[in-house]
C-alpha cells in the first residue's frame, strides 16, 4: 500500500514556515505580538539580552522545550526493534482504520448516489464509487433501485394501557372543548343581551330626549343645532330675546345636554339662579310697598321648559337692571343714585318717597315689609319698566330694518334705552301737572265763589288724551299698535291747562294757556311751564305774551299776580267804569264812591290779593291817612263756601 509506504520514512519536523524576505505589516504585528508574549517588552529585546538568555539556558520558551523533550523521548526511547515493532503495529492499525473508513465512505456515497439516482436529473455514473461502478452498475444493478420513504406507524397497534390513556385523553379533550364552547356561547348570549339592553336604554334615552326637545320646540322655543360636542349635545335652545343687547343675546343660548336616562340636563347657563327685578317704595326709610314676583307659566310644564322660561325671564330682568344701572349714572342730577347695587330714584321732589330698584335671586322672599300700602305703585312701576324694555326691543328691530344712513366717519351708536328717564319724566310731569292743576282748580272755585265767571280745562297729557284717535289714524304705519302706544311715553310729555275768563259780555274769550312740558334731557332738563296770556290782557296790562317757568311755585305766584291784576284792572274797572281809576302796576284800583247829599264823593282804594287760592279784597279810604279808620273793609273768598259776589261786596262798601 502506497499510504503505508510513505509513512515508513516519515520524519516529524516542525511545519515549514513560509519563507518570506519581507514581512508585511500584518506579519510584523503578529511577530511583535508573539515576541511581546514570549519575552515581554520589545524594548528589552536586545542582542545582549538574548545572548544572556542563551547563556542562561533560557533560549526557548518552556513549552517548546518540553515538546522537544517529548520528541526526543519517542525517538530515543527504548530499543530500535521495539520501536520498529511498535511502529509496524501502529501502521497496521492505522491502515485498518483507513481501509474501513474508505469502505464506509464509498458505501455511503454509493448509497446516496443510488437513492438520488431515482431522480432522473441526478442520475450520473460519476457520482458512484469506482468499485460500485464496476461491480454494481456494470453487473446490472439499475438506477433508482433503492428507495427511501418515510414510514407510517399508524398501523401500529398500541398497548392496552396506552390506548386507554389515549382514549381518556381524547375524552378529556372533548369535554374541555365542549365546556369552552358552552362558555363562549354563554358569554355571547350575555353580550347580545347586554347589547339589547343597551340598545333599549339608548332608544329610551333618545325617545325621552326627543320627546322633551319636541315639547320644548312645540312651545315655540327656537331649537338650533349645536356645533361643538355634537355627540352628547346635538341641540341647543335659544331662549334669549332676539333683540337683546349683545351681551345678553350671547347668554341666551343653552345646549340641551342628554343625561344618563335621556332627560335633558340643565346647562350651567340655565342652572344659574333666576333673578327678578324688585321695586320697593321707601318712605322715610320705611318700605311701604314691594312689587310682586312675575307670574309664572302654567305649572304642568315639564321642568326643563319651566327652567327655560325662568332663564328667559331672568335674562330679561337682568338686562333691564343692567340698562337702568348704566342709565342711572347720567341721572345723578335728577336724584338718581346707585348705591350697593340698588338704584335709588327720588319719586317726587317734596315727599320723602323713594323708589328702590334692585335685582335679586328669585328664591329670596321678595316681601319683607308689613306695610303694603304702596304695593300697587311698586308693581306698576316694575311692570312699566318691563314694558318699556320690551318696547325698546321691538324698536331695535324697527330701527334695524330701516334704511341705514350712508357710512360716515362718525360711528353711529344706538342710544341707550330710556327707562329710568321715562319713569322720571312721568313722575315729574305728573307731580308738576297735578300740583299746578290742584291750584288752578282751587283758584277757579274761589273765583266762582266770588261770582267771577271762569272756566278751567285741564289735560294732563295731550297725547294720552288723544291716544285712541292717533292710533286709529296711523293704522297704516309699519309699527304695531303696542309700539305706538308705548312710543307715546318716549316723547316729551305735554300737559295743557286752559283758564278761560268771561268777558263782560259773558262769552269765554280770553284764555290763559299753561302748557307743561317735561323732558329729561335737552332742552328743558325737567318740567317747564309755559304761560301764554291772552292778547287783550297783554295789551291792556302791558305784560309779556309768553313766559316760561321751571317750577310750579313760580308759575302760581305769577298767575296770582296776573289774575289779581286782571280782576282789579279790568273786571272792576269795567264794573265801575266811570268811577274807577287805575294807578300804577299793583293790583289796586281807586273807585270813587257815589256822591250823595250826606257825603262828598270819596276815593276808595280797592286792593285785590289772590294768594294760596284765597281771594282777599281790601278797601280803604284813599284820602284818610289813618289806616285804622273805620272805613276799612276786607273780605276773603275761598274755595269752600260760596259768598257774596265781589262786585256786590265792593258796592256795599263804597256805596
Amino acid at each position: 500500500m502506497s499510504g503505508t509506504q510513505s509513512l515508513m520514512d516519515v520524519t516529524l519536523r516542525p511545519w515549514p514556515s513560509l519563507k518570506k524576505d519581507e514581512l508585511n505589516a500584518d506579519d510584523l504585528t503578529r511577530q511583535i505580538e508573539q515576541l511581546t508574549a514570549e519575552r515581554g517588552s520589545l524594548r528589552e529585546i536586545t542582542e545582549k539580552s538574548l545572548q544572556d538568555d542563551i547563556i542562561a539556558g533560557k533560549d526557548v520558551p518552556d513549552g517548546t522545550t518540553e515538546e522537544h523533550d517529548g520528541t526526543k523521548e519517542t525517538k530515543e526511547a527504548p530499543s530500535k526493534e521495539q520501536r520498529l515493532q511498535d511502529i509496524a503495529r501502529l501502521q497496521h492499525e492505522m491502515s485498518g482504520h483507513l481501509e474501513w473508513a474508505k469502505f464506509a465512505a464509498n458505501n455511503a456515497v454509493d448509497l446516496l448516489s443510488l437513492v438520488l439516482s431515482a431522480d432522473v436529473n441526478k442520475r450520473t455514473v460519476n457520482s458512484f464509487s469506482h468499485t460500485f461502478r464496476h461491480e454494481g452498475l456494470n453487473q446490472g444493478v439499475p438506477f433508482g433501485s433503492f428507495g427511501i420513504s418515510r414510514e407510517n406507524h399508524d398501523q401500529h397497534v398500541r398497548k392496552p394501557d396506552e390506548a386507554q390513556s389515549l382514549a381518556e385523553y381524547e375524552q378529556r379533550q372533548e369535554l374541555v372543548s365542549k365546556g369552552s364552547r358552552m362558555d363562549a356561547l354563554d358569554s355571547a348570549v350575555d353580550d347580545i343581551l347586554n347589547a339589547a339592553k343597551n340598545v333599549e336604554r339608548q332608544v329610551r334615552r333618545e325617545t325621552t330626549y326627543w320627546r322633551e326637545v319636541r315639547s320644548i320646540s312645540d312651545k315655540g322655543w327656537p331649537i338650533q343645532r349645536y356645533r361643538s360636542n355634537v355627540r352628547n349635545v346635538p341641540f341647543a335652545v335659544r331662549y334669549g330675546l332676539p333683540e337683546a343687547s349683545d351681551h345678553f343675546k350671547a347668554r341666551g343660548l343653552a345646549p340641551l345636554q342628554m343625561d344618563k336616562d335621556g332627560s335633558i340636563m340643565l346647562h350651567p347657563a340655565l342652572k344659574l339662579k333666576p333673578k327678578t327685578l324688585r321695586v320697593r317704595i321707601s318712605e322715610n326709610g320705611n318700605i311701604t310697598g314691594t312689587s310682586r314676583l312675575p307670574i309664572e307659566g302654567e305649572t304642568d310644564d315639564i321642568a326643563i321648559e319651566k327652567t327655560i322660561q325662568l332663564a328667559r325671564d331672568s335674562l330679561f330682568e337682568e338686562e333691564l337692571y343692567h340698562e337702568m344701572s348704566i342709565e342711572s349714572r347720567q341721572l345723578v342730577a335728577y336724584g338718581v343714585q346707585f348705591r350697593e347695587s340698588v338704584i335709588h330714584v327720588k319719586a317726587a321732589e317734596h315727599s320723602q318717597k323713594e323708589l328702590l330698584i334692585d335685582c335679586i335671586p328669585r328664591e329670596n322672599s321678595i316681601g319683607g315689609s308689613q306695610d303694603h300700602s304702596h304695593d300697587w305703585l311698586a308693581q306698576n312701576v316694575a311692570e312699566g319698566l318691563r314694558l318699556l324694555l320690551a318696547h325698546e326691543h321691538s324698536m331695535r328691530l324697527h330701527r334695524r330694518s330701516q334704511l341705514p344712513p350712508p357710512l360716515t366717519i362718525q360711528k353711529r351708536e344706538a342710544p341707550p334705552p330710556a327707562l329710568l328717564r321715562t319713569l322720571l319724566a312721568i313722575f315729574k310731569h305728573l307731580e308738576g301737572v297735578d300740583s299746578l292743576y290742584d291750584y288752578l282748580e282751587t283758584v277757579a272755585r274761589t273765583l266762582e265763589n266770588a261770582s267771577l265767571r271762569i272756566q278751567l280745562e285741564t289735560t294732563r297729557e295731550i297725547s294720552w288724551a288723544n291716544l285712541a284717535d292717533s292710533l286709529k289714524e296711523s293704522s297704516r304705519n309699519s309699527t304695531s299698535a303696542t309700539d305706538q302706544l308705548l312710543d307715546v311715553f318716549m316723547k316729551p310729555f305735554d300737559g295743557k291747562a286752559t283758564l278761560s275768563l268771561a268777558s263782560s259780555s259773558g262769552a269765554y274769550l280770553e284764555a290763559f294757556v299753561i302748557s307743561t312740558r317735561t323732558v329729561i334731557g335737552q332742552p328743558t332738563f325737567g318740567t317747564e311751564h309755559k304761560l301764554s296770556l291772552p292778547s287783550s290782557l297783554v295789551t291792556d296790562l302791558g305784560l309779556f305774551r309768553q313766559l316760561k317757568f321751571s317750577s310750579v311755585e313760580e308759575t302760581t305766584s305769577y298767575l296770582d299776580y296776573v289774575l289779581s291784576l286782571h280782576i282789579a284792572h279790568r273786571q272792576l274797572k269795567s264794573d265801575f267804569s266811570s268811577r274807577a281809576t287805575v294807578k300804577g302796576n299793583d293790583p289796586r284800583i281807586t273807585i270813587k264812591s257815589k256822591s250823595s247829599k250826606k257825603k262828598p264823593a270819596a276815593d276808595h282804594d280797592i286792593v285785590v290779593e289772590l294768594q294760596n287760592g284765597e281771594l282777599k279784597v281790601t278797601a280803604s279810604d284813599a284820602d284818610s291817612e289813618d289806616l285804622t279808620d273805620g272805613a276799612h273793609h276786607s273780605h276773603i273768598w275761598n274755595a269752600q263756601s260760596a259768598g257774596i259776589s265781589l262786585t256786590e261786596m265792593i258796592k256795599s262798601w263804597i256805596g
Binding site: 332676539p242 328691530l397 334695524r400 330694518s401 330701516q402 334704511l403 341705514p404 344712513p405 350712508p406 357710512l407 360716515t408 366717519i409
Partner: protein, 278 residues
Amino acid sequence: MHELLLYGQVPAGRHDQVLKILAGVAAVQPRRKLQRCIIYRPQREPEEPGSAARRGGTQNIAVKQTKPAAAAAAATLYYTKLIQKLSEDDFGTEDGLQQTNSTALSADVKDGEGSMWSMRWEDIPDTGDRGVSIRFTNTTDLLSGDPHAHMIAAGPNRFVTEYYVEGHRFVHGNVIAYLHRVLHEPGVRSLEEAPKTSLPSFSSLQLLDLSGAYMLEAKVRVQDFKEAAVLESGVNELKEFQKQMKGCVELGLPDRLSLDTRVKYKPQHAAAAQGRPR
C-alpha cells in the same frame, strides 16, 4: 354719496328659498317694495368725442386750459331717473277702473311723511378694482309739485320710458339687499310722450326678463368717500355679506360699461340710417 354694489342672479324657482335665507341672515322680515322708474334723457345731443380738441387752429398763444376736466364733465350727458315709491293700492284694477283721475303727477306729501318721489342720478362706476362696484349717485327727494314737469324743465330733458320694479328689501347691518325684478307695460312704449298719470293694474304688467329671474342687489352707501377707513369698512362689510351668501347667491361685479348712464354720441348720418328708437 357713493354706492358700493354687488349683483347676483336668482332663478325664479329659487326665489322663495333665497327670500327665506335672506330673512334668516338679516334676521328681519322681508319688506315688499314696489317702485316705478321713469327715465329721462337730455334734449341736447352729446357732442362728438374729441371735437373740442379739433375745433380749428388759433393764432393765440397757447394758454393752459383753465378747467378742462370741468368742461369735459359738463359736456358729458347722463340719463336721469325719477323714482316713485308705490304700494299695491296705487295700481289700477283689473276692469280698467282708474283710481285717480288726475291729469298730472303730484309729489305733494303731508307733513311728517316721507317723500314718494325722488330724482336719481347715477354716474358710471369707478374704474378702481376693490372687488365691488363703486359709483357716485345723487338722490334728491321731491316733496311737492309735478315731478314730470320738474324733470322736463331741469335738463331740459325728455321722457324716454318707464318701468316698474317689484321686490323685497332687507337690511343687514349697513348692507341693503334688494331682491327684485323688472316689470314693464306691454306695448309700444316709444310712442308715449309722458309717464302715465294713472297706473295700469299690476297683473297686466309683464316681466322684462321672461324667465322670471330675480336680481339680488347688495348695496352699501358711503358718505365720506375720501375717508379710506370708512370706505374700507364699507367694502369689507359688503364682502362679508358676499361671503355669507356664497353657495346661495353668487354675488359678483357687474360689467362696468353695462352700468353706463351716459348718453352715447351717435353720428348724425348713422343715427338717421339706423333709425333706431331709443
